[in-house]
Symmetry: C2
Subunit: 193 residues, 2 copies
DNA sequence: CGCATGCATTGAACTAGGACAAGAAATGAA
DNA sequence: TTCATTTCTTGTCCTAGTTCAATGCATGCG
């Protein structure tokens, strides 16, 4: 049960069995049905979730109701809702929704602190995790700015080959920052080649 | 001399004077002239720089030569070149260039490890720093996708009021993901209101 | 089984922003 | 001060992507 997450957390930092035991004892296991919005605004902030099985999307909605998907998380990925609206005048909100029936390990802010207190080496693991997320997000920002819709879609297929089978097209469009209709046109153009 | 950086690093974590002493002793002070490209590809990777004075831009260049500015860093900001090309087939490269004469405190990867070994609490501070960078980058990604050029420019002015005086327009355009010419048109349109 | 709702496709009309080019203004070096 | 280089502006034309229908397809649900 814990082997998946232990392998993941040990990717950049090596832990003693005892440390992993502490880690595992603090995890909360949870199953969530498809199409559930997990994040009720304000209720549980700054949580960290590890996807054991399933698929979720994390998205923001701006003042005009526009939805932008910032992340898909599938097996062995982490999702967190690190609060984002740094600029107070700009209250866009974070949502995390399951797209399939899911299994998670969850950390509340408190248990995370408990973990760091009992096994400080995890601070390091989470720092590196954050750093990787940052690298991925910067990559995405760069692609969003510099690539055409077709290029973005082809790269998406390459990097997330399974996802295009698992989630609806219009979610992929939202992730790529293009309209669902245009993605459809891009796809038929690609198919004709 | 160290008060600026000590205040910054203590923002989310409280340190003992002794810890700050260790921190300060490991910092490398460096001045760099205007218009210097600090990051020669591959030479010094994963460094962390704290801007004491001046202004730098961090940017990527894609396969077609297009430049995208991912960050401006001014006084009291950190810049790092956390490697970004996760996808090996896609060798876009990171550059960091000073736009003004600058003063820095620098960390090499080795001295950073030394710091973590001698004063592990800094691991926490850097984790939180990373987390904030991630939040800022996600915010930027969201804005890039969901806002018009005019909106993006107005928000830029609001959030970085001094920067528009300090750096060339076409750099701001590159940061916002629009062409320099179009930014100029946006500006004249705004001025007429 | 039939119906309803959401999803993908396609087309037509429109627009935000890009690319190119040429001139004006500013900056800076000698 | 002058010349050169870079930056900014403005105009024209062009295109990638949007918006708004309308239609056909699935899929799930009573």
């Amino acid at each position: 049960m814990y082997s998946q997450i232990n392998k993941n957390i040990s990717r950049y930092v090596t832990f003693e069995p005892k440390e992993l035991e502490i880690f595992n004892s603090l995890l909360e296991y949870k199953t969530v049905l498809k199409k559930t919005i997990m994040l009720q605004e304000g209720e549980m902030c700054s949580f960290e979730a590890f996807v054991i099985k399933g698929c979720v999307r994390k998205y923001y909605i701006d003042a005009n109701g526009l939805e932008v998907i910032l992340q898909f998380a599938i097996e062995n990925a982490w999702v967190s809702d690190i609060s984002f609206s740094i600029y107070e005048d700009n209250p866009s909100s974070v949502y995390i929704e399951t797209l399939e029936d899911c299994e998670f390990f969850l950390f509340s802010p408190e248990t995370k602190e408990e973990l760091f207190a009992k096994a400080p080496k995890f601070e390091r693991a989470f720092r590196i995790l954050m750093q990787r997320s940052l690298a991925v997000t910067q990559d995405r920002l760069f692609n969003t700015i510099s690539k055409s819709a077709t290029e973005k879609y082809l790269e998406f297929l390459e990097h997330y080959p399974t996802l295009s089978q698992r989630v609806a097209q219009h979610y992929i469009a939202s992730y790529l920052g293009i309209s669902a209709e245009f993605l459809s046109k891009v796809r038929t153009k690609i198919a004709k080649l």
